[in-house]
């Protein structure tokens, strides 16, 4: 059986269940204890688990992340909540030079079961330093797992899995998704990394999307269906590890691909996925791979400009029609 709950509640259930199961799991962050976090993800955890395992920190991201990494190396399972992914930039040394490399530098003996939860993306009118989609920075660094759940069920299952494996995880939520609802199984629900999920099956074109681009891709698929085009929406759920096989299998079914990312186009994950597809499935393609991505600029405050900076539903629809060599909608209507 399943219940319909919000993304933020699903995250809280995951943390709660894993803290219950494993006494070495703890969480620290800014305003997460008594206040319950800016997105209410950690509400109630202080009362249940106490101040030893649910800790507020000063505003010191490099220190918090570093202390979390050290605790993980020493055998605990920390979750460090960073308010905005933009603020994670203050802790990049600890993520890139320490957490990501520790396993290799120690010849395999040193493991870092560290989870950094944070959120990114546009939508709140919070401008250039609170709206970025920075997954490509982490994707680029060998040793970091990159997780970007789009639904409550995935958020819960992936976070539970993150707290049971032994590598540093960049768990990237989206500020727009916290209050979205979805069905979450009642039973123990763990989602392994590296398993893509087909959010909507279809035969004409594959829309690859993650995080907040998934609901937009689903909306685009609904519009395309009205136009007689059946789009398949594939959500990789984890970018590292990436489920290449699922992507290649979908491409083999549809022969056409649109990749949608909110992050800026330049140096993005979409480009890398496109590269993998052209390298491993070139002869399956009936059209050039379309990438729909953010503009190569910081996010502006003005609402219309903010919208213009990141892909909207109609951008995905238009890209899918291009991939099908279909006329743009405006012309098709004539």
């Amino acid at each position: 059986m399943a219940r319909e709950i919000m993304y933020r509640d699903a995250l809280r259930e995951a943390i709660d269940e894993e803290m219950e199961r494993d006494a070495t799991v703890f969480i620290l962050g800014e305003g997460i204890a008594e206040r319950g976090g800016s997105y209410k993800v950690t509400e109630g955890l202080l009362a249940k688990y106490g101040a030893k395992r649910v800790r507020d920190t000063p505003i010191a991201e490099a220190g918090m992340i570093g202390v979390g990494v050290g605790a993980a190396i020493a055998g605990a399972r920390p979750i460090v909540e960073i308010l905005y992914i933009d603020f994670a930039m203050l802790g990049m040394d600890m993520l890139v030079n320490q957490a990501a490399k520790f396993r290799l530098m120690t010849g395999g003996d040193g493991r870092v079961p560290f989870v950094m939860r944070t959120q990114g993306g546009t939508g709140g009118g919070v401008a250039a330093q609170h709206s970025q989609s920075l997954e490509a920075l982490f994707y680029h660094i060998p040793g970091l797992k990159v997780v970007m759940p789009s639904t409550p069920a995935d958020a819960k299952g992936l976070l539970k899995y993150a707290l049971r494996q032994s590598d540093p995880v960049m768990f990237l939520e989206h500020k727009h998704l916290y209050m979205t609802k979805g069905l979450v199984p009642d039973d123990e629900h763990v989602v392994e990394f590296g398993k893509a999920d087909i959010k909507r099956p279809g035969s004409d074109v594959t829309l690859i999307a993650w995080s907040n681009m998934v609901p937009r891709a689903l909306e685009a698929a609904a519009k395309l269906a009205e136009q007689g085009i059946e789009a398949e929406v594939l959500d990789p759920r984890t970018l590292v590890p990436l489920d290449k096989q699922a992507i290649l299998a979908s491409v083999a079914r549809t022969n056409r691909v649109v990749i949608a990312q909110e992050a800026v186009r330049r140096g993005g994950v979409a480009s890398d996925i496109a590269s993998i597809i052209q390298e491993e499935a070139f002869f399956e393609l009936d059209a050039p791979i379309e990438i729909v991505a953010g503009l190569n600029i910081p996010i502006p405050f003005n609402l219309e400009l903010e919208k213009a900076s990141v892909p909207q539903v109609d951008d995905i629809v238009a890209a899918a029609r291009r991939a099908l060599h279909a006329k743009p909608l405006a012309l098709a209507a004539e």
Binding site: M64, G66, G70, A71, N97, Q98, M105, G107, P142
Partner: protein, 328 residues
Amino acid sequence: MSAQASKANAPSRALLEKLFRTAYKIRVFETEGIKLYRQGLIRGYFHPYLGQEGIATGVCAALSEGDFIASTHRGHGHCIAWGADVNRMVAELLQKESGYCRGYGGSMHIADISAGNLGANGIVGAGTPLGVGAALAAQIKGSDAVTVTFTTDGASNNGTFLESLNLAAIWNLAFVLVIENNQYAVSTRIEESTREVELYKRGLSIGVESHQVDGNDPLAVYNLTQQAVEKCRRGEGPILIEAKTYRHMGHHVNDPGKYMPADRLAYYKERDPVDRARNALVEMADVDKAEIDAIESEIRQEFEDAVVFSKASREISLAEFREFVEAY
């Protein structure tokens, strides 16, 4: 006070011998290691701990099994003082599979997680948050383990120095931060790096009990650390210790250290920590020259054996490396 009474209060022979053995072992490791480097057997960077032996020696003697240490880029001395196997250390420097990191890490990354050594670190200052994290893990698990991070005067101008020591303070962690103040950040004098060169004062400003000690006196370092460790185990941490010292040479093997004034160097060499450990053993425990010689030759032999062991060891294969890549 009579000579008799002074002897009665003297530290035990076992402690004095331990301090001397450790300091001398570090001295031999670094001196002989530099020769291997010059022969081209060791690649990359090699930051000698020569002249600073008193600090790792005194600090680690005050720690127990189950405790943690985190080290710096100049980390050989900390590993040895922590009780590392010289065979596996030399093998790591010679990039062999039998090394602590199987040849994946090298001088700047020697670690032994199972023994509580969180490792040397190529990023100056990084050991401080990592060490505070280990202390936090101990508190979460309800253990009485103490974590010591060795850091440097150079790293004390880094932002994470304040951030992580402050976290240790608000959470009362069992954490001892040892600043090895060798007075140079690579080649930049401490007077050029900060207006306040008495670095222990930085701890005071955020409510952390802080002390200063002569880092070239292993016994003084031991005594101070022992008190600090006891307080930490009672939940009265963290504690900051500034240990003043001076390198015997440049920043690394290929840095001649010409910026180090001859008279300053001479001043510190007269206060050599290995000599002081030896003298303490001779004077306070009546150990004669023959015994000292026996200890020294045993330690030199241990290093020679480690070189033989390491040369005979194999390197990791490309097939094993590929397996590792797959898992990463």
